[in-house]
C-alpha cells in the first residue's frame, strides 16, 4: 500500500449531510483524509484544482453549478496527464433521487450513492475505490471511461427521440421590432452567450433567448454535434480540427473566421480514421 494517505474532497450543500458523510467515511475508511468540504459546484471545481484530491464525493443537486456540471468542468480544466499532472480523481456522485438511472453505472468508472447513505452501501463504494486506486496504471483508461459516462449523464435522455420525431425547421429571431425567420438548414452554429444563444449563419448572427439545452431537444444531433457545453455546430460544415501544444482542441467552420473550442468531453469525436 501507498505510505501517503488517500485524499478526498466532499461537495454537498446541506451542512448536516456533509458532516455525516465525513463521519461515515471516517468509520468506513479511517485512512482516508478529507481535505475539504464545500457547499457548491463552483467551489468544488476550484478546491479540486487547488488540492488535487484522489477521490471526489459530489452531490448532484447543488446551488450554482450542479455536481455533474462541476465534474465536467473539472475534467475540462484538469491538467493534462504527464509527469506534472496527477491522475483524474475517482468520482462518486451522491444523490437523493436517481433520476439519472445511476444504477446503470454501478459497474463502471463513476460510482454513485443514494441519500440517505446506508453504511453497507458506503462500504462497497470504499472497497471499489481502494481497488481502483491500487492500480495507477489504469488511470488513463479510467479517465476516458469517466469522460464517456459524464457525456451520457449530461445528455438529456428524451432529446434524441423527440428531435427525430419533429425536428425544428426554422428559428424565430427578433431583430429590432421584427421577427426574422431563419431556416435551421442555414445555421452553422449555436453558441450559448450569457442569457442568449448566438445563432450563426454564413452571413449573419442572431440572438435568441431560448436556452441551448431546450434547443438541443429539437435539433437532429446527427446534423448538429455538441463540441462544448455551450457550443453546437453543423458537422458537415466543420473545416478542420487542430490540437495545440497545451492539449486544447479547436475547430473552424467553413465560411466563418471564428474558431471554436472543443471540450475534452467531446474531443473523442475527432480522431483520424
Amino acid at each position: 500500500m501507498n505510505a501517503n494517505p488517500v485524499t478526498a474532497l466532499i461537495a454537498e450543500d446541506e451542512p448536516l449531510l456533509a458532516q455525516a458523510l465525513r463521519a461515515e467515511l471516517a468509520r468506513a475508511w479511517p485512512a482516508l483524509q478529507v481535505l475539504a468540504t464545500v457547499g457548491d459546484g463552483a467551489s468544488a471545481v476550484q478546491q479540486a484544482l487547488a488540492l488535487r484530491p484522489q477521490v471526489l464525493f459530489f452531490d448532484i443537486r447543488m446551488p450554482g453549478m450542479s455536481g455533474l456540471e462541476a465534474a465536467a468542468e473539472l475534467a475540462e480544466q484538469w491538467p493534462a496527464s504527464g509527469p506534472a499532472g496527477a491522475a483524474f480523481p475517482a468520482l462518486v456522485f451522491v444523490t437523493a433521487y436517481d433520476q439519472y438511472a445511476v444504477q446503470a453505472f454501478e459497474a463502471q468508472a463513476v460510482d454513485y450513492l443514494l441519500k440517505p447513505v446506508q453504511t453497507a452501501r458506503l462500504q462497497k463504494t470504499v472497497e471499489k475505490l481502494q481497488l481502483a486506486l491500487a492500480k495507477p496504471a489504469q488511470a488513463a483508461i479510467n479517465f476516458e471511461a469517466t469522460l464517456g459516462q459524464l457525456r451520457g449523464l449530461l445528455a438529456s435522455p428524451a432529446s434524441a427521440a423527440a428531435a427525430l420525431a419533429a425536428p425544428l425547421t426554422v428559428i424565430q429571431a427578433s431583430v429590432g421590432n421584427s421577427i426574422r425567420m431563419v431556416a435551421v438548414d442555414e445555421v452553422l452554429c449555436f453558441e450559448a452567450a450569457d442569457k442568449y444563444v448566438r445563432v450563426l449563419t454564413l452571413d449573419r448572427e442572431y440572438l435568441i433567448r431560448t436556452p441551448l439545452k431546450e434547443l438541443q431537444e429539437h435539433i437532429d444531433t446527427r446534423v448538429f454535434w455538441q463540441i462544448h457545453r455551450g457550443t453546437v455546430v453543423r458537422a458537415l460544415s466543420i473545416e478542420s480540427v487542430s490540437r495545440d501544444e497545451a492539449g486544447k482542441t479547436h475547430l473552424s467552420l467553413r465560411g466563418l473566421k471564428e474558431r471554436f473550442v472543443v471540450s475534452r468531453l467531446y474531443a473523442h469525436l475527432f480522431k483520424a480514421m
Binding site: 446541506e14 451542512p15 449531510l17 458532516q19 457547499g39 457548491d40 446551488p63 437523493a96 433521487y97 443514494l114
Partner: protein
Amino acid sequence: MIGTLIGDNWFGWSSWNTHSVSQLRMSLLITVLAGVSITYYFYSKNKGAYLEAKMIEARQHANEARLKLLEAQLEPHMLFNTLANLRVLIGTDPERALTMLDHIIAYLRATLSASRASSHPLEHEFDRLRDYLELMAVRMGPRLRYTLDLPPELAQQSVPTLLLQPLVENSIQHGLEPKVEGGSLTISARRDGNTLTLEVCDTGLGFDPTDSAFTQPAAPDQGFGVQQVRERLVAAYGLNATINFVAPQAGGTRASIHFPYTP
C-alpha cells in the same frame, strides 16, 4: 313515395289521383314523424355517450391535477433529503430529530388531506408553512432565514387550504436553494381597509419577467404551482382576488395576493 309510385304502376291505378290530398298529407306526416323520432333517438343516444365521455375527461383532468399537486409536494428530492437529514440527527441530536420528525408528520398530514378541506383559518395556514420551513431550515442550515408575520387579529380569517404553499415552495426551490449564499424569506398578512393582503417575499435569484407563468393567467405546463394558486383564488373569490409578482430592485421575488377581508 317511390314505393307508392312502384305500387301504382304494378296495380295499374294511381293512388295520387283517387285518394284525397289530405290522405297524402297524412302519410307524409307519418313518414316525417317517424324520421324525426328515429333521428332524435340516435341523437339523444349519442348525446348521452358524448356527455359521458366529457365527464370522464373532466374527472381524468381533475385526477391528473391532484396527482400533479401531490407529486409536487412529495417531490422525491425533498423527501429523501429530509429523511437523510433526519437519519443524521437521530445519531447526533435525538432531541432535534424528534422535533424534525414532528414537523415531517404535520407536513405530510396537511399535504395528504389538503384536497379534502377547502378552507381553514389563516393561523393554520401559517402553522403548515412553519412545518415546511422548519424542515428546509434544517436542510439548508444558515443559508435560509425566514420570518412569519401574522397579526393576531387576522388569525381567524378563512383562506383556501395551503394556498400559499406553492408560492413558498417556488421561493425556496427557484429562489433560495439554487443561490449559493442563500437568503431570507418573509411571509406576511395585513389588512388595508376591506382588503386582505398576503405576501411571500424572498431575496433569491428572482424571476425572468418575460416568463409567461408570471404574466399570463394560465400557461399550461409552466409554473404549475402559480397556475394552481390562480385557479384556487378564482374558485374562492371570483374576480375579487388578484395575484401579482414583482421583481424588487434589491433582487428576489415578491408575490402578493389581495382578496376581500371578511369582518
